[in-house]
C-alpha cells in the first residue's frame, strides 16, 4: 500500500509513519496542507491520512480541493474533534472515514485497510451473495449457509456477519463494528460487542473443524477470507 500522511505534529506523524512502514506500507509525509495537496495531486496513492487542522491549507479544504479535481483516493481524516457534527462535517467535505485522536495504531491500520479494500472493490458490481470460505450469505433471501447447511441468525447478527463478510480477511475493530452495525460513535464501557461476536461465532463456527471468526488480541476481529 502506498500512503500519504499529511500531519503537522511531528510525533504523531512519525508514530503513524513507523507503524505503517512496519506493516509493509510505502509512506510519504507532508507536514503542511500545501505540500500535502501538491503530493496528493501529482503522485498516486492508495489512501491518504489527513489531519484536520493543518498549517497552510486546512484538512477539510484540502479534501474538498482534491474531490473537486475528481481525485477519489480514499481519505482518512484525523482529528481531535470527535463530536458527531464534526464527524459529519468531515465526511461531507469528502472524507471516507474519521478517526479521533488519540487513537491506537491498530485502529488506524484496520481502517486504512478497509478503505483501500473498499476503493478496490468499489468498481465491482454490488453482488447479492457474500462469500468467505464455505460461508455464504444471500442478501436478497436473507439466508446464511455454511457448507450448505442453513444457519439461523437474528437480524442484528445478520448485519454483524454482513459487515464482517464485507471486510473478510481484514481486521475490524470494535469501534468499526459499533459504527458500521449500530451506527453509534461512542464507546460503551463494557465490551458488549465481544458478547455479540461470541454469539455469532458459536452459530457459524460451532461444529466445523475450521474456525472462520478470529479474535485479534487487543485490536478486534477477523473473518477469514
Amino acid at each position: 500500500m502506498r500512503i500519504l500522511v499529511i500531519e503537522d505534529d511531528k510525533d504523531v506523524a512519525s508514530f503513524i509513519r513507523n507503524g505503517l512502514v512496519q506493516a509493509g506500507c510505502n509512506v510519504d509525509h507532508a507536514d503542511n496542507g500545501k505540500d500535502g495537496l501538491f503530493l496528493a495531486t501529482t503522485e498516486s496513492y492508495d489512501a491518504l491520512v489527513v489531519d484536520r487542522m493543518l498549517p497552510g491549507v486546512d484538512g477539510l479544504t484540502l479534501i474538498r480541493t482534491l474531490r473537486a479535481s475528481e481525485n477519489s483516493t480514499p481519505v482518512l481524516i484525523l482529528s481531535a474533534l470527535g463530536e458527531v457534527d464534526d464527524r459529519v462535517k468531515g465526511l461531507k467535505a469528502g472524507g471516507d472515514d474519521y478517526l479521533v485522536k488519540p487513537f491506537a495504531f491498530s485502529e488506524l491500520l484496520a481502517r486504512l485497510e478497509a478503505l483501500e479494500r473498499r476503493a478496490k472493490s468499489g468498481t465491482e458490481a454490488t453482488s447479492t451473495v457474500l462469500r468467505a470460505a464455505d460461508l455464504e450469505m444471500d442478501l436478497l433471501r436473507r439466508e446464511v449457509r455454511r457448507n450448505g447447511e442453513p444457519i439461523d441468525l437474528q437480524p442484528r447478527e445478520f448485519q454483524l456477519l454482513e459487515f464482517l463478510l464485507r471486510h473478510a480477511g481484514q481486521v475490524v475493530t470494535r469501534t468499526m463494528l459499533l459504527e458500521g452495525v449500530w451506527d453509534y460513535h461512542f464507546d460503551p464501557q463494557t465490551n458488549v460487542i465481544d458478547v455479540h461476536i461470541s454469539r455469532l461465532r458459536s452459530k457459524i463456527d460451532r461444529g466445523f473443524d475450521r474456525p472462520l471468526l478470529h479474535t485479534v488480541r487487543g485490536v478486534g476481529y477477523r473473518l477469514d477470507g
Binding site: V84, D85, F186, P188, V192, G218
Partner: protein, 471 residues
C-alpha cells in the same frame, strides 16, 4: 458634543418628549376652551349687531332717513348703560345721528364688514367696540356697534391664565422628569457599582433589592439569580478540577512507577509495557468522558437536535446489551409501552441509556433482573431502568450524579465514575430530569424528557376488533 450626564439619561429624554407632547395638548385644550367660550360670546355679539342692522335697515326703507335718525336717537336715549354705539353718516363722514361724534378715521372707505375699533369717550376713557358697517343708501353709511369692554377683559384674563398654565405645566413636567431621572440614575448607579465590584473579582456581591417590586427590583432579582448560577457553576468547576486532579493522580502515579520499573529492568517484559499502555488508555478514556460531559453541558449539541424515535433507541440499546445480560445470567426485559418521539440528539440519548444499562448489568448479580421501560404520560416521555442489584442508599443518590463519585461497593468494578454524570447532563440538555429511586431491591433510574406532540400512535387508533397480523 458631550451632553451633561443627566441629559443623556433615557428617563430625562423621555421626559422632554413628553413635555413637548404635553405642551401641544395644553395649547390645543386652551384653544378649544377659547373657541367654545369667548368665541361664543363674540358670535353672540355679532349676531345681535346683525339683527339690529337688519331692523334699522327696514326702518330706513319704511320711514326714510328722518325716521331712521329718529329711531337711532331714541335708541341712544334708551341705552342707559351706554353699551350700544350708533352712527349714521353721509359720504363725507359727517354724523347725521348716533352717539359717536365723528366717523372713526380707521373706518374710512370700509363698508359691509366687521370691525373692532376704539371709541374715545367724553371723559377721555377709551372703549373697545365691535361694529358692523353697511351702506344703506346713496352716500349714507350706518355703523352699529357694541361695547366689548367685558369681552376684551375676559380675553385678557384668559390669555394670562393660558400662559401661566402652560408655564406651570411645563415646569412641573420638567421637575418631575428630572426627579425621576435622578432616582432612576441612582438605582442604576447602585447596580453598576455592584457589577463593577463583581467584575473586580468579588463574586459574593449582590444587587440591592428595594422591595418595591418595580422593574428595577426585577432586574436586580434577575441579576442576583444569574450571579447565583454563575457562582454555582464556578464552584462546580472547582470541584471538577479538584476531582480530576485527584482521580487522575492515582493512575498516573502507578503508571509512572511501572514505567520506571520497565525502564530500569535489564529485560523489560512485554506484558509490563502492555499494561502501561492499558493504563494510559484508561486515563485517556476518563479525559474523553470528561470532555464529552463538558461538551454536552455547553449545549453544543443543541444545534443538531432533531426528532428522535425513543422507542427505536430504547429497543436498539436493549438489544445491544441483551447478549451481555444473557451472558451474566441476568434477565433483560425491554418494556416499550408507547411510541414516543422527543426533540434531541439520538446519539446522546443512546449513550445515556447505554451508560444506565452498563451500570445495571454491571451491578446486578447473576440471576437478577433488569427492566427497561419506556412510557408516556401526557407530554412527558419516561424511561425507567430498574435493576435488582444492591441499589444506592437514599443519602448517596444526589452524590452519585456528580463526576467521579464511586460508591465503595463500585470500586471493585471497572469504571471511572462519570457514567451517571453524563446521563444527567444529557437529561438536562433535553430539558428533562434524572431521578434515582429504590426498586426494592435494587436501583431504579428514571429519565424524563418532554415528548414531541404528534398525532396519536396508529396502534391505539386502530379499532379494537381489528385483527393484528402476527409479527
Amino acid at each position: 458634543m458631550r451632553l451633561p450626564k443627566l441629559l443623556r439619561t433615557s428617563v430625562l429624554q423621555l421626559t422632554l418628549v413628553y413635555m413637548a407632547l404635553f405642551g401641544v395638548s395644553v395649547v390645543a385644550l386652551f384653544g378649544f376652551i377659547y373657541w367654545s367660550t369667548l368665541g361664543y360670546l363674540e358670535r353672540q355679539t355679532n349676531e345681535t349687531i346683525q339683527v339690529e342692522i337688519d331692523g334699522l335697515f327696514e326702518q330706513y326703507e319704511r320711514r326714510n332717513l328722518q325716521g331712521l335718525a329718529d329711531i337711532i336717537a331714541e335708541r341712544v336715549q334708551r341705552d342707559d348703560e351706554n353699551r350700544s354705539v350708533y352712527l349714521l353718516a353721509d359720504t363725507f363722514g359727517r354724523p347725521l345721528a348716533g352717539n359717536v361724534r365723528s366717523w372713526p378715521r380707521e373706518l374710512d372707505n370700509l363698508t359691509d364688514q366687521w370691525i373692532d375699533f376704539v371709541k374715545p369717550d367724553e371723559n377721555g376713557a377709551q372703549t373697545p367696540v365691535r361694529a358692523g358697517v353697511v351702506r344703506i343708501g346713496p352716500g349714507l353709511r350706518l355703523l352699529v356697534g357694541r361695547d366689548i369692554r367685558e369681552l376684551a377683559q375676559i380675553r385678557q384674563v384668559f390669555k394670562r391664565a393660558s400662559i401661566y398654565g402652560l408655564t406651570l405645566t411645563m415646569g412641573l413636567a420638567l421637575l418631575g422628569g428630572v426627579l425621576m431621572a435622578l432616582s432612576a440614575r441612582r438605582r442604576l448607579a447602585e447596580l453598576n457599582r455592584t457589577t463593577r465590584r463583581i467584575m473586580a473579582g468579588d463574586l459574593s456581591q449582590r444587587a440591592p433589592i428595594k422591595g418595591t417590586r418595580d422593574e428595577h427590583d426585577e432586574l436586580a432579582t434577575n441579576i442576583n439569580a444569574m450571579l447565583d448560577q454563575i457562582e454555582g457553576l464556578l464552584a462546580g468547576m472547582r470541584h471538577v478540577g479538584d476531582s480530576v486532579a485527584h482521580d487522575l493522580r492515582g493512575p498516573l502515579t502507578r503508571l509512572r512507577n511501572r514505567l520506571e520499573t520497565v525502564a530500569t529492568a535489564a529485560h523489560p517484559r512485554r506484558e509490563d509495557i502492555a499494561e502501561c499502555v492499558e493504563q494510559v488508555e484508561h486515563v485517556l478514556d476518563t479525559f474523553n468522558a470528561l470532555l464529552r460531559i463538558a461538551r454536552v453541558e455547553s449545549g453544543a449539541h443543541r444545534s443538531a437536535f432533531a426528532g428522535v424515535d425513543l422507542e427505536r433507541t430504547v429497543r436498539d440499546v436493549c438489544e445491544l446489551y441483551q447478549a451481555a445480560a444473557d451472558d451474566r445470567q441476568i434477565a433483560l426485559v425491554c418494556d416499550v409501552r408507547a411510541a414516543v418521539e422527543v426533540f434531541g440528539d439520538r446519539e446522546l440519548l443512546a449513550q445515556a441509556l447505554t451508560n444506565l444499562l452498563d451500570n445495571a448489568v454491571k451491578y446486578t448479580p447473576a440471576g437478577g433482573k433488569v427492566t427497561v421501560t419506556l412510557e408516556r404520560t401526557d407530554d412527558t416521555a419516561r424511561i425507567h431502568v430498574a435493576d435488582s442489584g444492591p441499589g444506592v442508599p437514599a443519602a448517596d443518590r444526589e452524590r452519585v450524579l456528580q463526576r467521579f463519585t464511586r460508591l465503595d461497593q463500585a470500586r471493585s468494578q471497572p469504571g471511572n465514575g462519570l457514567g451517571l454524570a453524563l446521563v444527567k447532563a444529557v437529561a438536562l440538555q433535553h430539558h428533562g430530569r434524572l431521578a434515582l429511586g429504590d426498586n426494592a431491591p435494587g436501583l431504579i433510574v428514571t429519565i424524563e424528557i418532554p415528548a414531541l406532540v404528534r398525532a396519536p400512535a396508529p396502534l391505539s387508533s386502530l379499532p379494537a376488533a381489528m385483527p393484528r397480523t402476527a409479527g
